[in-house]
Symmetry: C2
Subunit: 185 residues, 2 copies
Amino acid sequence: MAKLPGLGPRSARRAVLHLIKKRDILLSPLADSLFTVAQTARECVTCGNIGTMDQCDVCADPRRAIGQICVVEDVSDLWAMERAAVFKGRYHVLGGVLSALDGVGPEELRIPNLVSRVGDENITEVILALNATVDGQTTAHYIADQLEDMGVSVTSLAQGVPIGGELDYLDDGTITAALNARKAV
Amino acid sequence: MAKLPGLGPRSARRAVLHLIKKRDILLSPLADSLFTVAQTARECVTCGNIGTMDQCDVCADPRRAIGQICVVEDVSDLWAMERAAVFKGRYHVLGGVLSALDGVGPEELRIPNLVSRVGDENITEVILALNATVDGQTTAHYIADQLEDMGVSVTSLAQGVPIGGELDYLDDGTITAALNARKAV
């Protein structure tokens, strides 16, 4: 239990003791659920999202075949996009970002799959929703290069002031990006 | 001392005691500095920035007369822009934002001054660097309306993912804004 992210040895002990005390109403159902998830959870063969079937719910939904693919780093980012409920197309989960330091190359990620999806499916736009970190942006440029001659429009999320953001609390990089990308009112 | 922002009664007592203990090396110089600032600090007649002369350092610098005015809410925002060292023009400090609730109208702010500056000085672009809050954006729209027929281009800071930002930690509004303002790679 202590190996879970966010749980140290002490909180793991507390959690385990709590589970044992409430073994009927908490421990058994949790064990059942974990067993079920271990049996059924699998990666979507198309996009890499997690689901219970070969194709995830998003890929299987015919209403989302609108020719847009949103490329995200991880399933947690896909969930963040879904929480915002603003994107109506399908996703492609890379499973990480390129990193020379950690020895992660294009083959370790799901980049070749992405390129073949763009060729096979009727895709008009690839939206790179990668994190605004150095590795994320490197990966974005690599993918943009790969897709350059495929006749598909490649876009990325806007960078700038977050909603509710106050200038005084922003870092210099964000202010610079927001000023450089300023747009007519 | 306890009336200063960020200082409660307890930390004010600690600070005062510290000052009294070090009265030679800390209290007297601080008292002198505060006295000097009280005597000399004044608002720039042009932009509202704080300086020691009628015109602040930014307005007095001829190299910054490049026809761009950056409109900010407060002097702290002007300092944030200067820290980023990316804007080379002059500023206009509103001194607040429009707020029906607090009874702040255009006359309480420095909006009429801004309009007359745009007419008088050789201004080509007004950049609205207001906070991405509701009041800030209301004020931005009001100013854009006021400047509509003056032949000046009105722009605002880009909204989107802040630099270093990870999707998983962003709010829905920012993800929506970033997706809607996405741009070609």
